[in-house]
């Protein structure tokens, strides 16, 4: 995590933003919902080197920290490139931590913890793996006797049941029954009890934050353009205050997701999981209220297929529940707080010795 990396993250983000602005058209979004993989976009992304942005330099990556790539990952939510770039970046990151070079292909990530037996065969079930139908490889964590293993699994060895989702992007339930992993190594220390669910939740939180910031920009633009009663609706205080609230929700999601990114970089599993919980709870709550505000501001036109708003709001509704919903993470975080007791609450928040 050197200073130079900030100099990489900036230009890489700019390049991606330009690429997405050019390629993520309405047609591209529609095609993705019909299971057409955007190979041209993926090739351009690969050429830029974005897929390996978070992977260690020793395995051919750019070695960016999550905190440095924070803005870049938010682009995935603000510009909605319909490819598994976030998942692939995450997978390449975790593989890099384990000293493995990521396969040069779109990768899917299973958040659920699988099992690995004494013979090294993997079993288990993940109810929802985004992009699994279009990926050749799924990265997962499997619990063995004592140790957790990071495993690369071929989608050919999985029983995939495609799932319909609110974002209409490729996703499947993935079942493994004694699948032999392509590779298996000890899981990196930053992955705790929840395995890959924590970093996946951070990725979703960053995407939610990115989407909310774009929804905010769309709302501001619309409020300053749409006229009723002889003035732009942005002149009505009721609309102003709703958009102000949306800005608050968007800021909170952004800050919480950025916090979680830093906890992942810290390398401590408990802190990373806590960061993931905070980010997912906050970003999902922001998404819930934020989507409602956006639709209120846009009136009827915002509810149409023709309008672009739903490409954001359907993802907000999808992502808030993926990789653990806000309720799920809140329950986990709350149970930990209850178990630790009242005295540990503030010391935990300040991350300091009692």
């Amino acid at each position: 995590m050197s200073r130079d990396n900030d100099d990489i993250a900036g230009p890489l983000g700019d390049q991606l933003a330009r690429l997405f602005a050019k390629t993520v058209t309405r047609e591209a979004l529609v095609a993705a919902e019909h299971n057409v993989f955007d190979a041209a976009l993926w090739n351009e992304i690969s050429e830029i080197g974005a897929a390996l942005a978070l992977a260690a330099e020793s395995v051919g990556g750019a070695g960016l920290a999550w905190a440095q790539a924070d803005g870049l990952l938010q682009l995935l939510g603000s510009q909605l490139p319909p490819v598994p770039l976030g998942e692939t970046m995450l997978a390449a990151w975790v593989l890099g931590l384990a000293g493995i070079e990521a396969p040069a292909a779109p990768l899917a990530v299973a958040g659920a913890l699988l099992q690995i037996d004494g013979d090294g065969c993997v079993s288990g079930d993940d109810a929802l793996v985004s992009w699994a139908p279009q990926a050749q490889v799924i990265v997962a964590v499997a619990q063995g006797a004592g140790a957790r293993q990071l495993v690369l699994l071929s989608t050919l060895d999985a029983e995939l049941t495609p799932q319909r989702t609110l974002d209409r992007l490729p996703a499947a339930r993935a079942r493994f029954r004694g699948a032999r992993p392509l590779q298996a190594v000890a899981a990196p220390a930053v992955l705790g009890e929840t395995g890959l669910l924590a970093p996946l939740a951070v990725l979703r939180a960053l995407q939610l934050a990115g989407s909310l910031s774009q929804v905010l920009a769309l709302c501001i633009d619309y409020a300053n353009t749409r006229s009723q009663f002889g003035k732009t609706i942005g002149k009505f205080q009721a609309i102003q205050h709703q958009i102000a609230e949306l800005a608050e929700l968007s800021a909170a999601a952004q800050v919480a997701a950025g916090y979680a990114a830093r906890q992942l970089d810290g390398g401590d599993a408990a802190a990373a999981e806590r960061g993931a919980a905070v980010a997912k709870i906050r970003a999902a709550a922001s998404a819930t209220r934020g989507a409602a505000i956006a639709h209120q501001v846009f009136g009827a036109i915002g509810t149409t297929d023709e309008h672009l708003l739903h490409y954001h709001t359907r993802r907000l509704w999808q992502w808030r529940d993926e990789a653990g919903s806000d309720g799920w993470w809140a329950e986990r975080l709350g149970r930990q707080a209850l178990a630790a007791g009242a005295a540990a609450l503030w010391t935990g928040i300040t991350a300091s010795a009692p």
């Binding site: 933003a17 905190a67 803005g71 938010q74 682009l75 603000s78 990115g210 910031s213 905010l216 920009a217 501001i220 409020a223 300053n224 942005g234 002149k235 205080q237 609309i239 102003q240 205050h241 958009i243 102000a244 609230e245 800005a247 608050e248 968007s250 800021a251 909170a252 952004q254 800050v255 919480a256 950025g258 916090y259 830093r262 919980a277 905070v278 709870i281 906050r282 709550a285 806000d326 309720g327 993470w329 809140a330 329950e331 986990r332 975080l333 709350g334 149970r335 707080a337 209850l338 007791g341 009242a342 005295a343 609450l345 503030w346 928040i349 300040t350 300091s352 010795a353 009692p354």
Partner: protein, 386 residues
């Protein structure tokens, strides 16, 4: 990406754990006699002896120059002390305004004589300050204020009324905003000046106002030809509006805008255990609150970092204040959701006392320091609406 607001990360380094432990140890001792009702007051609890002790330990005016009684410590060190005080619900009210607002204002724009005279007294916990902005006819529309400063030989004569002035009856000094030129109707925010007023001055009458909890912490103040000398002008004549607004960025951005009811949260954990209801509902509610606290703390620290770097993050301060006060207002409701306590105030039962006080005081959190509607108006303007 989004340029509407900016929250760069700002972290407290581990080196400050020692200071944190020192403050905690002090508070563990000092808090022995505090009731739930007391703790509920948080930074509006007024206790001069406590403030003097905090001053003696060097925890007021921490960042100010030594020449003015300060301690030349970092903004982060001050933040650690302040957030520990708030987490414990310590009665910091007697030095709060001076330390947070009046002192920094004087340091920025006060005269040398003002700095020498007042800053050491604030830092030692001896001089308590209050803020004289609101008037009976001017709340949110502060620029419509009518209380007037008239030039006389050697100074000004002040006439008019201030209201809602927190702890005026217990304080020593006020920094008040008065119209020094023109009229409210025509000139609005032009022609306002800030004065440093000794509350013992003759012609000044302070009338306590009892609030709905039964206590009198705010006051109405009548100014009848109150003379203030030349040297009491703060900053520049007729520049009071801009000065007071800059001051508000400090007032709106601190941890006191999200932690006022924080002590309820650990108590609710105890309560849930005692009642045997550590169930899914209570876990979820506590988990949500925890996520909010962590996020708000990050936001508040980020603003601190920006202020320390000399920026004026007014937009972020308004945004964070509105989120923060909503969170503070939520906590007593959270307690209701996860406990089934009867609405009685039982002496010695910390939770029942604190809950009772806070249920009655949280409505004011989105009024004081600028109302929720005013915050949202500021945010909307910053976003380019209107």
């Amino acid at each position: 990406m989004s340029t509407a607001f900016h929250y760069p990360a700002f972290e407290i380094p581990r080196e400050l754990d020692g200071l944190r432990r020192e403050v905690r140890a002090f508070l563990a001792e000092a808090s022995q006699g505090w009731s739930g009702w007391d703790i509920g007051h948080s930074w509006t609890g007024f206790d001069r002896a406590f403030s003097r002790e905090v001053g003696r330990r060097g925890w007021i005016g921490m960042t100010w120059p030594r020449a003015y009684g300060g301690h030349e410590r970092s903004a982060l060190e001050r933040y650690v002390v302040v957030e520990e005080m708030l987490a414990a619900g310590a009665p910091v009210g007697a030095h709060w305004v001076g330390d947070r607002q009046s002192g920094p204002l004087m340091l920025r724009i006060g005269s040398e004589a003002q700095k020498q005279r007042f800053l050491p007294k604030i830092a030692s916990g001896e001089a308590a300050f209050c803020i004289g902005l609101s008037e009976p006819g001017s709340g949110s529309d502060l620029a419509s204020l009518r209380s007037r400063a008239t030039r006389v030989d050697g100074g000004w004569k002040l006439n008019g009324r201030k209201i809602w002035t927190t702890y005026a009856s217990d304080c020593d000094f006020m920094i008040g905003l008065f119209r020094s030129q023109g009229t409210a109707e025509v000139d609005k925010h032009k022609g306002l000046s800030q004065y440093l007023i000794d509350l013992q001055s003759s012609g000044l009458e302070i009338r306590p106002i009892v609030d709905l909890t039964g206590e009198a912490h705010f006051n109405e103040i009548v100014f009848d030809d109150v003379f203030v000398p030349d040297e009491s002008l703060v900053g520049r004549e007729n520049e009071g509006w801009a000065q007071a607004n800059a001051e508000l960025a400090f007032e709106r951005s601190g941890p006191d805008r999200y932690m006022s009811s924080f002590p309820l949260l650990p108590l609710s954990i105890d309560a849930v255990h005692a009642a045997g209801t550590a169930d899914r509902l209570s876990a979820r509610r506590i988990g949500e609150a925890l996520a909010d606290v962590v996020t708000l703390r990050e936001m508040s620290l980020s603003i601190l970092g920006q202020l320390a770097a000399g920026h004026m993050p007014a937009q972020e301060a308004a945004l964070t204040k509105d989120l923060g006060t909503s969170f503070e207002q939520r906590l007593p409701e959270l307690v209701r959701e996860i406990t089934d306590n009867a609405p009685v105030i039982t002496e010695g039962d910390t939770l029942s006392e604190m809950q009772a006080y806070l249920v009655q005081s949280v409505p004011s959190y989105s009024l004081r320091g600028g109302t929720r509607e005013i915050m949202r108006g500021i945010i909307a303007r910053g976003l380019g609406l209107r």
